[in-house]
Symmetry: C2
Subunit: 184 residues, 2 copies
DNA sequence: ACCTGAACACCGTTCAAGT
DNA sequence: ACCTGAACACCGTTCAAGT
């Protein structure tokens, strides 16, 4: 099996899932791939770039899992749950996203994410704004939810899933309908 | 000036404000305090504990800046803005909160934060749930907002303040009134 | 009680050298 | 083009020793 960015990112995610984010280091990752640590730098350039790639995979998976065509409210709800799902599928994913410095064309990715909302009738500004709020909400929840020690105490107290859903629902319902002048 | 947790945390926040989170290390921090790195371990125990203390200072400041008595919606809005303000007052604060492992009595702090909401008529569960959503939203926004490279691109595209306010407003308005059976 | 000085283990990264 | 081996700088942490 040849070594490439794909395999490296996959192995890194696997390593984090098993050992946690603070056990992710270039030597351990290289060992898992049967290679020397310095070999990774041919494919990745930087540990920061590696974490950015890992974070990007969450967004990509969320977008893929989001509803295809729907009203903008339904799409926002769907995407919110999809992004949350993508995060919860991996250990320490939220911390990973928080650490990750934005990669490549952040501008472009944002537009691509917002495109379904624009197609559904929101202005570019309203779409980006609402999307950022939904992403922020999901990311923030995941941060606290994955904070290991917190998890035990708060799981029973609050019920992460229902509470997140309640917050998301409230927010999306609360977003105003696009003003007539704001239509495409 | 004697060395204590207070001064260490303050100096650490100052250092991060000036140099950024990834330049925060025990040696630089010690040097700033005119002391040896190993001396810090008498007062702090751990770098993780230090970051937790730093993160805790944000929550404390937000609680202090929140409205004293108000309806639960108004209090939530006020606290949301206060927490956001506390985060934006320091560089890399959101990443700091994401990294920080919960300190001491997370249970107790959560209750203390939620107390004003309970006094305003929400059930304990509804209060914790709503509060967590507001905190998550503010934290999530701050993560993206402080992501240096992102800041430049997105600042004009979205308008962080208005968009955060819109999301917060929508969410708080969208929270249902407490059911009669759910009253204190 | 509080701090110094020196050390240890670990980690990101580089680079000449190999194939 | 892709990887090894060895090295460098840096950092968290410990601990005996000082005062």
């Amino acid at each position: 099996m040849k070594l490439g960015q794909q395999e490296i990112v996959a192995a890194a995610l696997q390593l984090v899932d098993e050992q946690g984010l603070d056990r992710l280091n270039m030597r351990a990752l290289a060992a898992r791939l049967g290679v020397q640590a310095s070999a990774l730098y041919w494919h990745v350039g930087d540990k920061a770039e590696l974490t950015s790639l890992m974070a990007a995979s969450f967004y990509a998976r969320a977008l893929a899992a989001a509803p295809v065509e729907a009203g903008w409210r339904a799409w926002l709800l769907g995407f919110g749950h999809a992004f949350r799902g993508a995060l919860l599928a991996h250990r320490d994913s939220a911390r990973l996203c928080a650490i990750a410095k934005p990669i490549g064309d952040a501008q472009g990715s944002a537009e691509r994410l917002a495109a379904p909302l624009v197609r559904a009738g929101l202005s570019r500004h309203a779409a980006l704004s609402a999307l950022a709020s939904v992403i922020s909400l999901a990311l923030g929840w995941a941060v606290y939810e994955q904070s290991n020690a917190l998890h035990d105490h708060l799981a029973e107290m609050v019920g992460f899933d229902e509470s997140f859903t309640a917050g998301l629902q409230a927010m999306v319902v609360g977003f105003p309908d696009p003003a007539p002048a704001d239509r495409a």
